[in-house]
Amino acid sequence: MNPARTRVPHLVMAAGMLYFLVPLLWIAIAATKSQPDLLSTPALWFADFNLFTNLAQLFREDGGVYGDWLVNTAVYSGVSAVGATLLAALAGYGLARFSFPGKRFFETALLGMIMVPATALVLPTYLILSNIGIVNTMWAVILPSLLSPFGTYLVRVYVTESVPEELLDAARLDRASELRIFWQVVVPMIRPVLVTVFLFTLVATWNNYFLPLVMLSDADLFPLTVGLTTWFNTGQQEAGTRVLFNLVITGSLLAIVPLVIAFVLLQRFWRSGAATGALR
């Protein structure tokens, strides 16, 4: 298209970029300010540069609990994502390339499971886990996060399209065990969809708030999302006595940056996953 005809779309896109960027710019700027400056200086411009003071205070506050939150978040999302991806890979392959009693029913149900609102499950899961005494532990967050019907669905679709049955039969003729065929033949072929499922579940757990909010009561076990909001609440209730807003802001920035970078670098995996899911 000639430049004149792309002027309008470019103006619209510029406006969109501004809209999506302003809150992120604000938090990046606000993280460099002391709490008094936060309240008194223009919101979208710099004051005295206190980012490193804020960071130092961030990791000292409440006996360094922010460091725990960071580690917890990484553990919860890392373990959940690896586990959910593994389960989805096994089940997706099993559904796509095998036949067994009840399979048709399970496949129909799978589509339904994607539609079950996750938060409807959180309260009853909490009650069950509290009966068996594992609420307020890491497992209370990790185990429910292993459930990813959408991941299994994505793998199933991908295997159907990209793993030829002839190849599996050839491997069977070579007397390879089913598990070995899975690891050495199937997994390398479906690696793109596995990365997609991994990223989806990683982000879902990293960003999850409702589940850990309900399951956990020890501050040592909180992920970033729950921890930072408790600081925010305290900061509001004890206005003036504790300086916390600058920490909430700096802590939020630090929680966001790794994911934003990962997103920008790995966007093509989201695109392929979205396309696989949307076009069936």
């Binding site: 510029a14 309240l39 392959y93 399970f106 499950l121 899961t125 009650l127 069950i128 939020s252 949307a278």
Partner: protein, 293 residues
Amino acid sequence: MRRKRMTDHPVAGALFVLPFFLVVVAFLVVPLGYAFWLSLSSRSLALGERFTGFDNYVRAFSDPVLLDGFLRVVVFGAVQIPVMLGIALAGALTLDAVTTRFAIAFRLIAFMPYAVPAVLGALMWGFLYSRTFGPFADLPTVVGGEPFDFFSTDLLLLSLGNIVTWAWTGYNMIVLYSALQAVPREMYEAALLDGATQVQIALRVKVPVIRQAIALAAIFTVIGTMQFFVEPYVMARFAPQISAGYTPNLYAYNQAFAYSDFHYSAAISFALGFVVFVAAYAFVLLTRKRRQS
């Protein structure tokens, strides 16, 4: 032949699915069953715990707080979802037609908010809306007007809608853009040769082709909206008029953790989940059937 080969290893196939199946049973089937079982009884100081059948559901469907909350979420969704998906679709069509570096930068930036946890996004916007921290509330005073109160009852739904739109537009845009990228170019080359404009092609060729993807994005958005919790929960710190029953999900949470009425809470969760599930599943089956026929 194909059929027979697939049935050769039924045990192996079932074993591959087994671990996932167990997680489904433990964290989906059992919790749903337990919620339903809980919802069929009630607890009171005088009578203790006893079976009350569908009393909790009768109570839920005649509870003005719950119905108000439900209506609020429906009204919210009826405005926010079309606006957001409309912007996302327009953005996706633009990205599909314009392939400059600028467009690529736009795509990356629009996607960024999806990486921000919803609770932190809501906190950020809460700061941005506030008069003490944010740049926007005092804008009208520059020309001598009254400052905006983004937390007032009048503007609150709009403020919440903006947070959700900011967070999810880019994600939906990428989903729709991926669907557009998968459309073979030959489908509209003929239209281009006939002198059709890009806008005509977008509306008459591209949009109909990806309507399945649009429908799916709409379903997932509806499911998400009906569970509306995090944004109002966080915003309640800034706007105290966000009551315990502002949304159905917030109400279920407060019934359980503020009033310790797990039975009623379970009934609300189950009823809400059921309504959402039936609506979404019916929609999927309907669009699938229409596509196949």
